[in-house]
């Protein structure tokens, strides 16, 4: 009974010979290369993610450096409504409001809006504004030529300021997007910043 069941016969009587010690070095090295490669790949995911998001705009992050305005025709047939939301993160005591809460723009047209900030406390604070756009895909088409979010913003105790933001909406904005929201969250980064390297860019 037993013999019929085996497709693979095991021939123990014929010695295949003594085993010589095998050298696995080449195989092991190839695998180790793969391990190292995947480790590096994971870290590479960080800049890859950034690039991917910049190119597709899907996570709503906007340009982190000033865009250059290339003169294009203003598309007067389309009107895009832009909402501005201002928030301060927990523990950030500044007043932060958008002077213009909502603005209707044409793609290709330059617009300037201003944001009011005030440090009501008795200590100097450095802030970082982090923008986020919803729907995320609209972020790709929001081009800021001047923004307080590009640098750290310091305010001395009791100081206030008006921060401009200049932008234009790229005419390539998909047809189905007729409005989007831009949110700025202000973080207190005084503790993490070396005061000597602060840039100032305000009125």
């Amino acid at each position: 009974m037993q013999d019929n069941k085996h497709d693979d016969e095991v021939d123990k009587s014929a010695h295949a010979g003594v085993r010589t010690p095998l050298d696995h070095t080449k195989t092991v090295n190839k695998i180790l290369l793969l391990v190292a490669g995947m480790f590096c790949f994971a870290f590479a995911l960080v800049p890859l993610y950034d690039v991917f998001c910049k190119v597709t705009g899907i996570n709503g992050k906007t340009n982190t450096e000033a865009a250059v305005y290339t003169a294009t025709d203003i598309d007067e047939t389309r009107t895009i409504t832009v909402d501005f939301i201002t928030r301060t993160n927990s523990g950030m005591p500044w007043e932060f409001t958008a002077q213009t809460r909502k603005i209707d723009v044409h793609p290709g047209q330059m617009n300037e809006v201003a944001f009011y900030v005030r440090n009501p406390t008795n200590r100097d604070i450095i802030a970082q504004a982090v923008p986020s756009v919803s729907p995320g895909t609209a972020a790709l088409y929001l081009n800021k030529t001047e923004c307080f979010c590009f640098q750290h913003q310091p305010l001395k105790a009791g100081e206030e300021a008006l921060m401009p933001m200049v932008f234009y909406v790229d005419p390539q904005l998909p047809e189905d997007i007729t409005f989007f929201t831009l949110q700025y969250t202000l973080y207190d980064i005084t503790r993490t910043v070396d005061k000597d390297t602060v840039d100032v860019a305000m009125n």
């Binding site: 928030r87 523990g91 005591p93 986020s132 756009v133 919803s134 973080y187």
Partner: protein
């Protein structure tokens, strides 16, 4: 037994089970099943869910029927002799293609519903929803109404000292109010860690990511009170930050908004008035105890003893006994890198003054210190 008889028996059994199950499940509001909800989208989602469910049941029944039949009929103890086949191209191709087709059948309606759900255009009302540890904040973008929404269930119920009431853990002090029949757009973000805003009756669940906004929308058909919960682990009180939305007819909603604006204005006026006033020790202690119970006791415990190693005790602590400015400052600014958040936005200055006074005098601390709203104002904005 013959395979055909087996199939007949199984089919009858299946039909009986399914109809019974359908009765039990499809009652709209049951403990067994998702709810259809109160918007067109939520009903579509429910429909998709039930469709998938029935398809899965059907697949399971077919597969298990073959399997159980085999277990009964092809048993060695029944004298079954093993056949010899171990491949069959036709059968294998069929049972690859057919499931593939079933998947397409399921995926297409799902994709359409999804595209509908993500279309946030032309809203009537926009609300900014901010999650933080461990409460929600709502701000209406079309007017100036904004407020925190905090769990209203008392600690006594949670700690099993009081009987639990019907909406245990699903009630808040100030619910979100929206109009029915209008498109409501939610902008969702977070102040600290990732939370998630989930309203089962609207089929909305969207993560609240710190520093980023997400969008969702709904259009509620039926007025009523709807309850949801935070749906992303966010720390110790993840289970204690519910969401309550009250949907009102548009006219009532407008009235409510006007009322809220009036309330907010009165609160601002009151705050100004209190800044120049002094409250008595009794007033401060009484209000302080309320604030403490609603806001601080979850971590620092009703008896002020905290949780050793995790949340510091206030009873007998140096901050509460000696350092008044430090005591005020830690509540106003929070303690970065710890769970102690800043409460400057959630509490008014008089509330902070009351709770500081309470903490300095309760549980035997008995410092006799009295802290007024103007002291808080001084720390937050002035010289010290």
């Amino acid at each position: 037994m013959k395979f055909s008889s087996f199939i007949s028996y199984m089919s009858v059994l299946l039909i009986v089970c399914l109809s019974f199950a359908a009765q039990a499940i499809d009652t709209g509001r049951s403990n067994l099943n998702m709810r259809p909800g109160v918007s067109d989208i939520s009903n579509q989602v429910y429909g998709l869910h039930m469709l998938m469910f029935y398809v899965c049941i059907a697949i399971a029944v077919v597969v298990f029927t073959f399997m159980f039949y085999s277990m009964v009929v092809h048993r060695k103890s029944k004298g079954a002799k093993a056949a010899n086949f171990h491949e069959n191209l036709t059968v294998e191709v069929v049972w690859t293609i057919v499931p593939f087709a079933i998947l397409i059948f399921m995926a297409v309606p799902a994709a359409y519903t999804l595209i509908d759900m993500e279309d946030v255009s032309k809203p009537d009302v926009t609300v900014l929803v901010t999650g933080s540890q461990w409460k929600w904040h709502y701000k209406y973008m079309d007017n100036d109404v904004e407020y925190f929404s905090v769990l209203a269930t008392e600690q006594g119920q949670i700690r099993n000292q009081l009987t639990k009431t019907q909406n245990y853990l699903l009630e808040v002090d100030r619910p979100l109010v929206i109009p029915t029949g209008k498109k409501i757009r939610f902008l969702i973000t977070s102040d600290d860690v990732i939370h998630s805003w989930w309203m089962p009756d609207f089929a909305i669940k969207k993560d609240a990511n710190p520093g980023f906004i997400n969008e969702a929308w709904t259009n509620v058909n039926t007025p009523g009170v709807y309850r949801g919960q935070c749906a992303e682990l966010c720390g110790k009180d993840h289970g204690f930050m519910p969401i309550v939305v009250v949907a009102k007819e548009p006219a009532q909603y407008d009235a409510w908004v006007a009322e809220q604006e009036a309330i907010a204005q009165r609160a601002r006026d009151e705050e100004q008035r209190l800044l120049s006033m002094n409250m008595s020790m009794d007033e401060l202690m009484s209000q302080g105890e309320k604030v403490y119970g609603a806001v601080c006791a979850a971590c620092h415990m009703p008896n002020g003893e905290g949780l050793p190693g995790v949340f510091p005790a206030l009873k007998g602590s140096a901050l509460a006994l000696e350092d008044i400015p430090g005591h005020i400052r830690i509540i106003v600014e929070g303690s970065p890198g710890t769970s102690m958040a800043s409460f400057a936005k959630q509490l008014t200055m008089s509330e902070i003054a009351a709770v500081v006074t309470y903490e300095r005098n309760a549980w035997g601390n008995d410092t006799g210190d009295i802290v007024q709203a103007k002291d808080i104002n001084a720390i937050m904005y002035g010289k010290e």
